[in-house]
Amino acid sequence: MPATSSDIVRLAREPIDAQALVAHVRGAGDGAIVVFDGFVRDHSKNRRTLYLEYEAYEVMALAKMREIATHLHDNFAIDGVAMAHRLGRLEIGETSILIVVSGAHRAATFDACRYAIDTLKRTVPIWKKEYFEDGSVWADGEVPPVPAATPPAETAS
């Protein structure tokens, strides 16, 4: 089943309304909702974090997030997906990523939500800069998997 038009995939410059996203995916045929709420912690590698800044290659990030939602529908017995990532400056405790998955049963719903956050962290072009009292650093990231070779040139089909 492809991503449904009712899925929510967004990048947000304002705080993410978790309750609204949970309500959005909650269907009459569902029996479970799993929420991953990733938020800003107050330290990184024994340094006290002041705040974070996120930036994205926005159009590609949205496309990759939609691909994840489509993959969830194609591979897990789930119903609805809502996925929102914050950009800009985030203070300690603010939600940076919220992923909500609904489904009839808990197992597939847990699995799909876990797949979504793991894949997002590896493949969606978003970057985090950490600000400390004595400077700032780009967070260690993950190198996305890239096709090994160029796709063949367009051919008549």
């Binding site: 590609m60 956050i117 978003i126 800069k129 190198v143 890239v146 160029t150």
Partner: protein
């Protein structure tokens, strides 16, 4: 037109692409986006090499950089065409 392009002949063999930098790469290059003129047989690798000539510090990060062409991750050998949008992406750290 930027000086680095001066040695590219203005012939039908020239292509023009849009180039984007993000994160640490954007800071090194001091720019987030610009239009670049290239030889007609340019690849993503040769485009990066052209920028590395201008901004040698980019080379320090070459092994962890991935590129995209038209918003899909793409191999370094990918050939480029006029109108392509190429982005150089440091390791991603969303979530």
């Amino acid at each position: 037109m930027a000086g680095y392009n001066r040695n590219v002949p203005q012939t039908s063999q020239t292509i023009r692409v849009q180039v984007l930098f993000f994160g640490r790469l954007k800071e090194i290059a001091g720019l987030s986006e610009e239009s670049a003129e290239l030889h007609g047989d340019a690849s993503i690798a040769s485009l990066f090499a052209q920028y590395a000539t201008r901004y040698p510090q980019l080379l320090e990060y070459r092994s962890s950089v991935v590129a995209s062409r038209n918003r899909e991750f793409a191999a370094w050998a990918t050939p480029l065409h006029t109108g392509d949008e190429v982005a150089f992406l440091p390791p991603v750290s969303g979530g």
